[in-house]
Amino acid sequence: MTRLPSGGRIDRGRTVECEVDGVPLRGHPGDTLASALLAAGRLEVAPSVYLGRPRGVLTADPGEPNALVQVLDDPEPMVPATEVELRDGLAALSLSGVGRADPGGAARCEKRYRHADVVVIGAGPAGIAAALAAGRSGARVYLVERHRELGGALLDGDERIDGVPGAKWVARAACELAARPETRVLTRATVTGHYDHGYLLVAEHSAPEQRPPWQRLWHLRARRVVLATGARERPVAFPGNDRPGVLLAGAVRRYLRRFAVLPGERAVVGTTGDSAYATALDLVAAGASVPLLVDARPEPPAALLARARDAGVPVRTGAAVIGTSGERWVSAARVSALDDRGRPVGPVDVPECDLVAVGGGWNPAVELSRDPLVWDAEIAAFAPDGDAAVGAARGSFGLRDCLAQGFAAGAAAAAATGFPVVAPPIPPVDADPAPARVRPLWMIQGDEESSFVDLQRDVTVADVRRAVDAGLRSPEHVKRYTTLGTGSDQGATSNVLGLGVLATLLGIEPGDLGTTASRPPVRPMRFELLAGRDRGALHDPVRTTPMHDWHVRAGAVFEDVGQWKRARHYLRPGEDMAAAVLRECTAARTGVAMMDATTLGKIDVIGPDAGEFLNRVYTNGFAKLTVGKARYGMMCTADGMVFDDGVTMRLAPEHYLMSTTTGNAAAVLDRLEEWLQTEWPQLSVHCTSVTEQWATIAVAGPDSRTVLARVAPELDVSAAGFGFMEFRDAVLRNGIPARISRISFSGELAFEINVASWYGQAAWDAVFADGADLGITPYGTEAMHVLRAEKGFVIVGQDTDGTVTPLDLGMDWVVSKRKSFIGDRSFARPDTARSDRKQLVGLLPVDRDALLPEGAQLVEPDATRTPPVPMLGHVTSSYRSAALGRTFALALVRDGRRRVGEVLHAPIGGADLAAEVTDPVFYDPEGARRDGHQPR
């Protein structure tokens, strides 16, 4: 047993039972998986990922590179055992650097969005001081701490503040913060990113006993950020520095103090600065023996030497741990003097031990800093150059400095947000003075293949040397060449060490190298947390029409068009999609069919200048459109490419109702408003989306007039009385007011009935009932696509792709030459005006049953098949046609109109499909079917 009989911040009154790798493990509330494993004497974790070397716990913080586990009811792959709080029933597997993502998340994930005046990141002494000072101003303050309790390093030491032990001072501060209405303290909360303008992402999770567990993603917008993120200890790269039993000195102290765990009985302590002396003294106080403390500095502070001597700890100065030995675990350290260049000289001592506590120096935790980083020779690390960071995060390790900087920064941050406050006086502090200068020590000469820089990635000094030998100098390049710092620990223990090793190999100072950039998220972040509740049905709004439930009952198979659910086709028993689409098309061509066209975008364009505005927006004219009539229009972007199309009605002299494609409705409205606001503010026009206000039923087919005559008995639906591209206001037989237009997207006689959306179902029911004896057939978007393609009508976004002009589509008739409109100048650009652009053509496969895949490339029959293959174009639409009794397609083909009659090939999976180029209008080219026949 290595659990100490007393001490620690654990709840000894309760025992927690869990399991690691199938072996029962006991601990106490307050333990982490790592501390419980060490307490149980389980020093070894899973072997390393590439080299399979035995490994043990190295750290006591989230940067742990070795002790990675998979918690069995947790979807997150690979979490550090140092971060997993113990709870009853916890089961985990140790991992060799490769986890397993489990899609079945048990946690409830939610998001919060908050504004704050001051956010303090990190609740060690500096952060607590900053939060206290800022909070006293009345400003809205968030203090964010990743551990379960506040205090940071104060919980691991003997310091006294204001006459009380550090932990008690922390408890008092926590009470004060909790009592402030505008201050909020988050624990178990990790800031994963610090973005522009004070935007912070904070991942918070529930206490271990919470079932089911929850997580929260805080989106905090801070007017001022105070970084009190502390510092992380780094190892030294010496041969065998990865052997289980080698721990960071600060981690050893944390296990002793916070968890009452003694990680070894006999410890050699190696350090480059002051801090590891406290580890040695604590080890002795806990009953362990420390046969040797090795300090790389020739002349450490005399006071430290005296305290070590008083505790009976022999100190060797100007020396270092240069290696370890042992079967698997450490059984001895190798210690040697260093010359003035840090190289081992003289005889090697081999003190026996079961623990090597190494302190290579402390790196400020700067990954959330937005200030430039500068090399600080005093601490041999990079520190932020600015006043946003305080305490150890700035490289100030003395407790008095931490408090002073925290108070000052907290008060200044509050004042900067409009809450002036005087920084509190610094209370009396009883603590070690700020540490003396460290002696940078990065690597020890020796076996470089076993001198590890990045333990999670198994990167050694030899790997860094290979990068240098390959000519690499930049830390960014070396990182990518070696994978150093690319593990899930993001180089917490290895980045600065890697820089030091690289500098040593290059014979320069690390400060001359610069550092690699930290990018958020600086800690691994769960996708389920990012998604929160925006998943499944809540991922994106689903828009349905008023007749949606009817479609469901009628066997509709839906497709997504933007956020809309549209019926694609209606399956009858025994049918597949192809059969259903052929049946629906046949009905529209030979009888009558109906479709829910509600999803088309609809925009009211109102104002005295509405006609002039539409004239500028559409390629064709609208100012002279007669009230009561409708017109098809096309709009282009300024570069002359097709943007959208649709039919617009003139309801009144100053009121047009524009329709847009379903998927483009919002973009069209955006565009109209943009031009009105930014280019033509003098035009008096207002645009309003009315898509949701109207339900639209298209009734198509030669029998559609019969159905309309029944549905709207008062309406003259004769060809003479109701012309093509006209609309009428009418009342349906069931009393519903409607606007009925005669427009067709199929070439057949067709009507569109628009009613207020709450009447949509009733109007649909009336049409369906009135057409029942004629076999009225609901049809979906697939049949609609086939019908329009048979007529050569394009679908913007399917037959166009932002590189296609109206002229490419053969739609010269829609491009006015008598007025100016957006994009007109572009038709005279040399590239747009050339005659051999890709043009819309029809394709008839030589094999009448062969269906060309949409997107298939088209080539000359004798074109080379060795890349680069000269491509002529591609298939944009391709269907089986009931009316034609064969397959057909639309395509964009280079110089296509001149190629009519040629045969082109579509190479598909090693074979060629041959197709003849045709005019794009396949069905009823003379337009004889548009007016249908008189009602039966």
Partner: protein, 80 residues
Amino acid sequence: MLLIPCPWCGNRDEVEFRYGGQAQVPYPVDPTSLDDAAWADYLFVRDNHCGSYAERWVHADGCRRWFDVVRDTATNEFAP
């Protein structure tokens, strides 16, 4: 995520906005009078430099107004 000053609504999160590219590139009064190079310049060529940049945004999920701001493209700070 940027905090963008809408002149009508005040500071709002970037997610509420859409970007409109460089400001002060008006649609030519008479496009037909431009030669091909000048028209191509209007269509396709925009400044792209490090430092102060006048650009357009629209508060799409707010007041839906277009406006110009000056942003430092290196620091993302908006000029007052």
